[in-house]
Symmetry: C2
Subunit: 195 residues, 2 copies
């Protein structure tokens, strides 16, 4: 499959079959994205940060780590990672978040809207969206528990590769937040390798 | 209302009206519990650790902190807290967790089962359960992201008090895990104060 571009501030949905690999690329550098997954054909099984934290015994994931479903089944394994810096704590940004955090009054694209549109064919409404795997997003826990967001450390062309451990419906979003992306929103890209 | 005991390894469901306060007590000390909430009459709005992390800018919550819903509305405010040590990262323990982490082959009570039974009248199935507020549970993030669970620091009679910011359906569980509770499972208790 050729490399597909997700335009800045937009999203994409895709099917990933068991054994296929999804390569997520930051074409220009410094851009983060959101990834959520549901078992193909069964949206009661979804990507769970809490189960992944528990089985991994840690908050930060990179090559070799497994991301689990709410039903404790492996969904994705990270098989390659140029960046090694991702977040799995923050919910997808939403219009309410932009209003509360930034005082915005008008409209604004959000990862929650992007993911909801991308997964609409599967019947995934916004209120069913779990916490995404925020790839390339740099958020670190300080010793006192405070959370500090920094610009993504991904450089142009950096990628992370995930292997599907079951058939998956995947939603992706090129995060529209200036705050998480060093002050400018940029495209992302992906490609799928055969089983 | 008088103090209600939740027996060791069991759960309870309750209605909390806006303005009412819920006092959660550790009668014997060293026991943690799980709390989840949904908006009364609308299970599409639920307690969200990720939104709470984002708006609070931190992972650890105590007196004065607000716990938010997935729709960015305040659900609960912590108004008093003898312990100051709670977890909001781990999913509710489940039978699959006991099998994977401890190699268990038989049955075992779990917070997920307790919460599902407690919230059954509201149509909350297990797959809709968000990450609970794990009160009195001691889990700390190490600088490298590793998670370390220690016995709860709550002493006999210690309590946390939460004020409802909307009408809520609340599920509680006295956690049946030996690992999170210093090697023995014990009861919890609660009382509700008027609006």
């Amino acid at each position: 499959m050729t490399l597909v571009t997700i335009p800045a501030r937009e999203g994409a949905g895709l099917r990933l079959e068991r054994g296929q690999r999804l390569r997520l690329v930051d074409p220009l550098g410094g851009q983060s994205g959101d990834l959520v997954t549901f078992r193909w054909g069964d949206i009661t099984e979804w990507l769970s940060n809490g189960r992944s934290f528990d089985y991994g015994g840690k908050l930060y994931f990179s090559t070799g780590d497994v991301l689990y479903s709410n039903k404790s089944a492996p969904m994705l394994t990270i098989i390659d990672d140029d960046v090694g810096n991702h977040d799995f704590l923050y919910t997808a940004c939403s219009i309410e978040m932009y209003r509360i955090q930034y005082g915005l009054t008008g409209d604004h694209p959000s990862c929650l809207d992007n993911l909801t549109r991308a997964l609409a064919p599967h019947g995934v409404e916004a209120h069913r969206m779990p916490t995404p795997f925020n790839f390339f997003m740099s958020a670190k826990v300080q010793p006192d528990g405070r959370l500090v967001i920094s610009p993504p450390r991904s450089k142009a062309g950096d990628a992370i590769v995930l292997r599907a451990e079951m058939d998956l419906a995947v939603g992706l979003s090129a995060c529209p937040s200036l705050g998480c992306n060093g002050g400018s929103t940029k495209p992302l890209a992906f490609e799928i390798f055969g089983a």
